[in-house]
Symmetry: D2
Amino acid sequence: MLETVGSEVCGTDVHLFHGRLSGVPYPIIPGHVVCGRLAESQAAIRDVEGRPIADGTLVTFYDVFGTCGACWHCLVARAATRCPHRRVYGITTSAEEGLLGGWAERVELKPGVRVVPLPDGVEPLDFLGGGCGLPTGFHAIERANVALGDTVVVQGSGPVGLNAAIFAQLSGAARVLVVGAPRARLEAARRNGTDEVCDIGEIPDAAARVRFVRERTGGRGADVVIEASGNPAAIPEGLEMLRDAGRYVVVGQYTDSGDVTINPHRHVNRKHADIRGCWGYEFSHLHRALAMMGKHRERFRWRDLVTREYALEEAGQALADMEALRVVKAVIRP
Amino acid sequence: MLETVGSEVCGTDVHLFHGRLSGVPYPIIPGHVVCGRLAESQAAIRDVEGRPIADGTLVTFYDVFGTCGACWHCLVARAATRCPHRRVYGITTSAEEGLLGGWAERVELKPGVRVVPLPDGVEPLDFLGGGCGLPTGFHAIERANVALGDTVVVQGSGPVGLNAAIFAQLSGAARVLVVGAPRARLEAARRNGTDEVCDIGEIPDAAARVRFVRERTGGRGADVVIEASGNPAAIPEGLEMLRDAGRYVVVGQYTDSGDVTINPHRHVNRKHADIRGCWGYEFSHLHRALAMMGKHRERFRWRDLVTREYALEEAGQALADMEALRVVKAVIRP
Amino acid sequence: MLETVGSEVCGTDVHLFHGRLSGVPYPIIPGHVVCGRLAESQAAIRDVEGRPIADGTLVTFYDVFGTCGACWHCLVARAATRCPHRRVYGITTSAEEGLLGGWAERVELKPGVRVVPLPDGVEPLDFLGGGCGLPTGFHAIERANVALGDTVVVQGSGPVGLNAAIFAQLSGAARVLVVGAPRARLEAARRNGTDEVCDIGEIPDAAARVRFVRERTGGRGADVVIEASGNPAAIPEGLEMLRDAGRYVVVGQYTDSGDVTINPHRHVNRKHADIRGCWGYEFSHLHRALAMMGKHRERFRWRDLVTREYALEEAGQALADMEALRVVKAVIRP
Amino acid sequence: MLETVGSEVCGTDVHLFHGRLSGVPYPIIPGHVVCGRLAESQAAIRDVEGRPIADGTLVTFYDVFGTCGACWHCLVARAATRCPHRRVYGITTSAEEGLLGGWAERVELKPGVRVVPLPDGVEPLDFLGGGCGLPTGFHAIERANVALGDTVVVQGSGPVGLNAAIFAQLSGAARVLVVGAPRARLEAARRNGTDEVCDIGEIPDAAARVRFVRERTGGRGADVVIEASGNPAAIPEGLEMLRDAGRYVVVGQYTDSGDVTINPHRHVNRKHADIRGCWGYEFSHLHRALAMMGKHRERFRWRDLVTREYALEEAGQALADMEALRVVKAVIRP
């Protein structure tokens, strides 16, 4: 059992509220990324290295469970994030099954759920400032194979984009540019080491934004572009921002926001592009992302991404603020 | 100097004839892939291992030259097929510069052109049956990282697609399916080891072709799909044929045949797809492809892909037959 | 429950008999790779694609079980073959726990054991001719990243080496050389497509064997060398056979047969070598290896590697014949 | 032509002085890594992006030239650092050919030599503090494929080791440990962000040093170990420090300092280790390393690695100080 200290509000929660995802077993308790204190453990809870975790310790947990380790996706394709048995707290768990979401005073830890203690010096708000954007942005950067000295463009300045911009720097990018809006999110990007930002409010023309990137990359485009905007129109724009033989990671299209038109000759074949979808995250991404947060919590200010904390009964307001982009990161504190 | 034995007619030649490529320095001598006999060599011509090649030897050569080895693309990005100084016999060379194309009795070997003797037992028609589709299909399969036991779908049954189907088998695919037309090309695919073919003449509905693939892959789609059709509409169809976390190589869109609509959520992000453009080929692809042809010339019948040979003065007919898909592979014999 | 049709005798069984492995819970029932018929299944046994397998079907199973999927090795390092909870039928299972080895009339299938039906046309002796060398050799070749057109040298002509030589061909090697003994095993290599063999009985001098390889590789050495001999002295010899920047896979040193001296400057640093240890195999290796056996059972004659079949009470003789290299592959038929 | 500002003294220079390398065309002008000002350029010198570099600009250059781009190693194996035509300023160039070494007032730039301007804010002593250890350490870390969150051990605290420790951090290592001596070098490692050092003067027992690493890595060993010590005995020690399925890069064995004994079962096969030799560096390593130095020159103090500057006539003293490890980095200022 976990006594909830806080749970994030993420973009998926807004989509869930509007019923935009299929296969959700409503009613649900939202809140897939949670921070709390272990309590009333029947058996010893252990971390991934086998060390017992005492009740009262501040922990989070990997929100995905039920991955079978026995199906074709898990064993042959080694694509565990596409395992059909995969379940996620707060998204694919029904309230009728128990307390399986973070917007509640207590969260039930199902057998097999992987618990991770917060590293020394990391407080709940640090972790929740990262939220699910932390392992998601981490996974996107792992997919991107950033080389030391690369220039990385991130499309989108929401939590996933901001975390991707941080992990791009930690992976050795020599330069990180963020293309997004509104201003407050771009300022957060700047405070967290982004070299330059391109405000789509100020530069509403996609071709002008492509020029912005090309002018800063010898006319060639960036080595890596990360799509974290959620807007289908970002796809051709990002491919125009990418250099020949570069890597383009699509991590922002978690819900179906519609189709988009591309030119396969220019955007893919002649460009010799690598386009990589990035779905979900594995335990290793959460584990490694937390280790990096422990080491770099002075350099990057995840905590400051939390614009406002909400009581449980203010959850509706939190969703409304999130949807209107009035906050960078909203946290529910039961 | 090379005394031409034969030169292929490829799809690019049809596009060149219609003026569909930009930046071509007309008039040109077409024919970028050539087979001939070395003649009148001033200095010793050597193969890549440093051995001299005697005049009279049957050889081909790597049609790309001028790659600088000194620019950002060559040295930093290591993307030599995107080097801006790259030139190609019969495509980006003007007839005013000399005999730099294969539709002529003799071809001039510029300094630095890499000459490759035909392997023992490989005759000019074997090599020309592969043509530029040989190293192009080879490169596509290298990009695909076929794992032993994979199922590979090839979209398109032209020379690139047929060679991709052959190299997929040689790379360890357990099963290769070709989706294409017309019948004669699909029969060539079957004779060369393709397990099953899907005739788009018989199954004109894209959704039905996707079902064809999914029914043969446990409902999941193929591990690898190679787009070698040249039709933009093949892109979303191929992505629907691909399994989650599979690899999709786009090698057929060498000219701009228009835009296409995809769904970034379903086709890229949720699918965790790897989409890889594949432009040109490097010397290593030609070198290795020829070694494989030498070894497997009994098992695969490249020579039989040559439907008809044409004299120089019949070149117009060759282009017309190629465009009408009346031939699999046309060869000019000066 | 499995009614045993046959179980292999492998080199590890000889080591087990002599007590050369540590941590073995004697008494054990040997036989980790087994073929049999499903019988008396309580719950539905399903294959990895989720299809039920009827009682009476000829199957094998992945001999490793108990891999936890929850420890640091499984989740963070993604090195499941080094999971400390990993257990193996016939090796780390005690006879006191049940019928957990193939040298018995029946084998108990523990929960979570992955069962694989033999592909159409594959008979028990085909599979047992491959034995544990099948997935082990498969894994070694996966580690080697064979490129189309490579020259591959295999050191050792036991079951692992012979399977590695087969999978090297299936992965696109243009040439495969096997260095080993005795003559009967080298003949098996030749019958299974190996281009040339080097008999260490006839060429007892290591430097002469290195010359044998270099003379066939332009003086440079092979692109890939697979160590499958079990002799520590093979290591420096194999590294001398390897070209600069080549890949050397060490898969034969499953037991500690002693130390060996290498020169780190010449063998590793200046050579820019990739040396890759290869421990155990995962389910995917068995699954994919079987698919390849199903496809290529005419081309490669795994069944012919079975030199002799033994009744259960002849197991001692089988071990003695195996140790004396009088047989290529011995099979116990209870 | 280059007016020399400074040239480094590296370990190879000490070996050259003692005649320990074969094939050196004595007499030579030592000094392969040089910083100077462009002067008297006949034709426009351009950087890799094609921009002209004005005379008077502070530059360095890639010390390797003559790589042919046409041989089997360059074209087929894509292993340019093993091209047999490769030549290196100050090492494989004779004084009789011209001013081809940095211990001279002027250095001649041969055709095809790649010149790189120092990035804004990088001064000659910054660059020379890195010296050839900069691209060498960079290449080693590229070979290591550091994952975000990894623990990296560096064996050796000379210039290569110190640069490897810096680039390991920049690549996303969560923790870097350096094992070396003497104290002054370890202090330089600490000042440059190394988390912990192990002084081999204080812990002379190899087994105790292995324990030092294992105690800090959950008993498992490090994800990555970089051998940069030059001592053959470091090899088995480093392999004991490595976790199962970890990566071990051997970059310190540039001269033949003798053989060493390893256990192939324990150190390679059962460990499932990746052991990677690392020879020379390519232009991209120098280019990217300099970009990183430009970005991180405040965080890492390369300049402080220069313990002492020497006039040309003090070169003998510089070599003696280098050999006695009295300096971290010595620089010749003509």
